[in-house]
Amino acid sequence: MLEIITVGVAQIKNSSSPSVLRTILGSCVGICLYDRVKKIGGMAHILLPVNQKVGSSPEKYANTAIPMLVKMLLHEGAKIEYLSAKITGGASMFKIGSNISLGQIGIRNIEQTKQELQKLGIAILVEDVGGNQGRVIDFYLEDGRMKVKAGGQEKIYYKV
């Protein structure tokens, strides 16, 4: 049996092969990082793009959670040059008043996530983002593949 580790809203978890990291996403973004050589990886489940206040729940925000996840993986022996990213989530409410800023949160989460990964020089191999569907994510640390279940359909991304 594979060990399934649930990553909750605004949590960061890491583990090694053959664990599976699982999360459920709406407008949040899931960032899956994998070191293909060491076969270790981690997932951050961010709720919002930018942390306005320093020091308050860094796991919640793209700009603080992603560096935290990278640090965690490097500490476990990963090498930055072997890390690659798959990002998913960031869905939007189907119908939303044009002046409701919360409606843009999914899109803002995706943009910020991309910026942070670019800053750290980590390539994004897969983007399964946006739209209006919820997503259930399984990230297999055995080989870094990511399964995305959305609207009754499953997709598996193998690229690492």
Binding site: S27, L47, A91, F94, I100, L102, G134
Partner: protein
């Protein structure tokens, strides 16, 4: 429209025995707290008749979520310490859990997902009411939040059958998932939910919440604030991925509901940002 599915739903909702049953004590207590002639002694007696439930009710009274510090060992004590309305909410939690805690197949919700979403929406709805200095409706929107999507339990089987048609209609007609439910199956889960609440003999405001939480602008004016609050809490929880299923975010956040509650943009973002704390809070109710 799938006439076969429509007829099968009609058969279920016109036959009271086919709708999920709620322990009678819950319906009685919900109506008793609205009756000014009922004493708290009478409510306590009514609850205490049901031994099995009393044990679970006391357990919840002493949970981190509800406890006020001192251990509560009787229903009398619970009402004095927590208040009648709070105890009513706890009775409903205990009574409704077995109905809402199951997997809901057609909506792709695992065991506990619908229940967790109800708890999250209930808690957020109550927070919104309290934030707007409307303590008087805090317990109503809490109860409404718990049961707002109870209709899904009954209709899920048909959603599973008709899913492809429903989701296609959502995409081609640009309508929300519940609107497409109605187009394809003749009924949506809110209408079925209303029938369930009729069976349970719940008061009108709770029926309005269940019936109109997806379209608050059509709720009776007298209940529109309560309905709007649950509408917003539901949408924000879904955005946070809580209870998100095969219907995804094919829903709506209604401008008029936001106006009705007087919530600002910053309030909405604040509610969304506080989600992790809210999830911790509801952990011991799951």
């Amino acid at each position: 429209m799938d006439q076969n599915i429509k007829q099968r739903i009609e058969t279920i909702i016109s036959n009271i025995d086919q709708l999920p049953p709620l322990p009678e004590v819950a319906s009685r207590v919900i109506n008793m707290v609205n009756d000014p002639d009922v004493s708290f002694k009478q409510v306590a007696q009514e609850i205490s008749k049901n031994q099995a439930m009393t044990t679970n009710i006391l357990k919840l009274c002493n949970s981190a979520y509800f406890s006020k510090g001192n251990e509560i060992i009787s229903i009398d004590r619970a009402i004095v310490t927590l208040g009648l309305k709070e105890v009513k909410d706890i009775v409903l939690l205990v009574a409704a859990k077995p109905i809402l805690d199951k997997p809901v197949i057609g909506y792709d919700l695992g065991q506990g997902d619908l229940w967790k979403q109800g708890l999250a929406v209930a808690t957020m709805s109550r927070d919104i009411a309290m934030g707007k200095k409307r303590k008087d409706i805090a317990d109503v929107v809490f109860t409404g939040g718990i049961i707002h999507n109870v209709g899904k339990v009954v209709i899920a089987l048909f959603v599973q059958q008709a899913f492809k048609q429903i989701i296609d209609l959502v995409q081609t007609q640009s309508i929300t998932f519940p609107q497409a439910e109605k187009e394809i199956m003749g009924y949506n889960h809110q209408e079925v939910g209303e029938k369930i609440l009729e069976k349970w003999n719940f008061p009108p405001v709770l029926r309005s919440i269940v019936r109109y939480y997806q379209e608050p602008e059509n709720a009776p004016e007298a209940h529109r604030l309560e309905v709007s609050i649950v509408h917003i809490a539901n949408a924000i929880c879904l955005m946070g991925g809580i209870g998100i299923g095969s219907d995804g975010l094919f829903h709506e956040i209604n401008d008029r509901a936001i106006k009705k509650t007087g919530l600002t943009q910053a309030d909405l973002e604040g509610l969304y940002a506080r989600m992790p704390d809210l999830l911790k809070q509801i952990m011991d109710l799951q």
